[in-house]
């Protein structure tokens, strides 16, 4: 089958390597909770300092048990998404009720990204794969893969600046038996903090919730932000030295 995702053996074009990303997405945060896995990301594509695309959805449904989120180069995200759609279509055509599980998708992406890294032509992304195994005792799965092919599974995952700003908050407040509302509140809180501090994020998010009932990706929503903190209104620099 002529799939553009297979390396063509007789290409005569000049060799190209990704040296830097151009249109990028900011952090993705994800946590396991009592009923499954929840993931959140904002909907912006930044072109350097410019807020270029304000409605770019970075969370995708792979199949009925798995969702994927990505930060980093958004064209590579689209390429990876098309690749996964082709795999899912192949599963559908087999018509035997079996689909790729989240663990398999994670493994596949890790191999693809590592292969690209080894050819020094990386897909410049940090991917998050979330899913719940089908069946009555389905385990929740949460894993990440980065542009080097480094991959691991964890209960709480953050990409980009989220690793620095959101991770400490998540580590402090996460519990394995959180309810859906508690999990959502925690993720929203971390995203709000990121919005205050990350210069390349906007206040417009999509949330994906994977449970035994399937994958649900929300419509974009806003979070409440405050700008009347005392130190924003009267910055420290302007306060008198004598208190």
């Amino acid at each position: 089958m002529t799939s553009r995702f297979q390396a063509a053996s007789s290409e005569v074009s000049p060799i190209q390597h990704t040296v830097s990303p151009y249109v990028v997405g900011a952090s993705v945060l994800a946590i396991k909770y009592r009923d499954g896995v929840m993931m959140i990301a904002d909907t912006m594509g930044s072109y350097g300092n410019m807020a270029r695309f304000k409605d770019f959805h970075r969370l995708h449904k792979v199949n009925s048990t798995t969702a994927m989120g990505a930060s980093g180069e958004l064209s590579d995200l689209q390429y990876i998404r098309d690749m996964l759609e082709e795999l899912t279509l192949g599963d559908f055509q087999q018509d035997d009720g079996s689909q790729l599980t989240a663990k398999e998708v994670h493994s596949y992406l890790a191999r693809v990204l590592y292969n690209r890294r080894s050819r020094v032509n990386p897909l410049w992304n940090e991917l998050v794969v979330a899913g719940v195994e089908p069946g009555p005792n389905g385990q929740a799965f949460l894993g990440t893969v980065d542009l080097y092919g480094s991959n691991y599974e964890e209960d709480i995952i953050a990409t980009g600046y989220g690793q620095y700003i959101a991770m400490p908050l998540l580590r402090r407040e996460w519990r394995a038996d959180m309810t859906k509302q508690e999990a959502r509140t925690l993720l929203e809180k971390c995203m709000t903090v990121l919005f205050y501090r990350h210069c390349r994020q906007i206040n417009r998010y999509t949330l994906s919730d994977v449970t035994a009932d399937g994958v649900d990706i929300s419509e974009p929503f806003e979070l409440e932000v405050k700008w009347n903190y005392k130190q924003f209104v009267v910055p420290t620099a302007q306060q008198s030295l004598v208190q």
């Binding site: 089958m1 082709e86 279509l89 559908f92 018509d95």
Partner: protein
């Protein structure tokens, strides 16, 4: 000398073949007969006519296809070796004729659908897919080293051009249909299909109608073991080609079976009535005969 020897051998072969319709011009699929027929292609169509009935109905909200899958042995697991297969999310194929040939056609159709999606970013339209399948099946009729596919395929598609039903036969010609049948019971099936009001039928009604017709044309004495396999792509299935849901299929099958059984009972009762009448007539004749003999005596 070599060519004359070869021609002599062929002439011998020609005279030795059974005097059938094609005599001599039916040995290779690349040979025309004097009256312009390609016999191998026609024989391939005959292979389709020997197999179980396959039906398709194009409704206003989708397309439904059904196959009378004749089964060889009681040992076979129910539900395996399907004749109805998805090509893409919005299209599927029902195979009539040799299942193995049909499976190859489906594989090719899947490649075409996937590469179209890859290239153009949208699902392939029904008529485009039908065209691609036709080209494939037609290609098999062009070369002496290939044989025509021994199957006809019913393509059910619900893409941007709406619900479409196409049949592609072994010659590679494809036609769009409102309702279509092939296989053993195709004559009766076609007559029954024409009775339906095709413009107003919904897919649910079509499932019942197809189950009905297949149970009607199915010959219990010849083919005891069989399964009814149906697939649809419609608004109800969210425009995804899938096997007809078990509960819908069961409801339709039960109704069809009941109707077919009722018909059989009626036929049986009729036959018994006729036999009874015949027996009564024979008894009367006997009576008359004995009376005449008595009179004579």
């Amino acid at each position: 000398r070599k060519t004359t020897e070869r021609r002599k051998k062929l002439d011998c072969a020609r005279s030795e073949t059974m005097s059938g319709i094609g005599t001599g011009y039916d040995l290779a699929s690349d040979t025309f007969s004097p009256d312009g027929r390609l016999f191998q292609v026609e024989y391939a169509s005959k292979a389709v006519d020997q197999m179980g009935t396959t039906l398709g109905l194009c409704c206003k909200d989708g397309v439904v296809v059904g196959v009378e899958k004749l089964v060889q042995s009681r040992m076979l697991v129910k539900g395996t070796s399907g004749r109805v297969m998805a090509v893409d999310t919005q299209a599927g194929i029902a195979i009539g004729g040799l299942a193995a040939d049909g499976r190859q056609i489906v594989n090719r159709a899947r490649q075409e659908a996937t590469s179209y999606r890859d290239f153009y970013g949208v699902p392939i339209q029904g008529k485009v897919l039908a065209d691609r399948i036709s080209m494939q099946m037609h290609m098999y009729t062009l070369y002496w080293f290939m044989r025509p596919a021994g199957c006809s395929v019913l393509l059910a598609s619900y893409a941007s051009d709406g619900p479409q039903l196409y049949m592609v036969d072994p010659s590679g010609s494809s036609w769009g249909y409102h309702g279509c049948a092939m296989g053993k019971g195709k004559q009766i099936a076609k007559t029954e299909l024409e009775k339906l009001s095709l413009g107003e039928l919904t897919c649910r009604e079509a499932v019942k109608a197809i189950a009905d017709i297949i149970y009607q044309v199915h010959d219990d004495t010849k083919d005891k073991l069989w399964e009814l396999e149906m697939g649809w792509v419609c608004d109800e299935s969210k425009r995804v080609f899938e096997p007809v849901p078990r509960d819908v299929l069961k409801e339709a099958e039960d109704a069809a079976k009941a109707k077919a059984d009722a018909e059989k009972e009626r036929e049986k009762a009729k036959k018994e009535e006729e036999l009874k009448k015949k027996a009564e007539k024979a008894a009367e004749k006997e009576k008359e005969k004995t009376e005449m003999e008595v009179d004579k005596a």
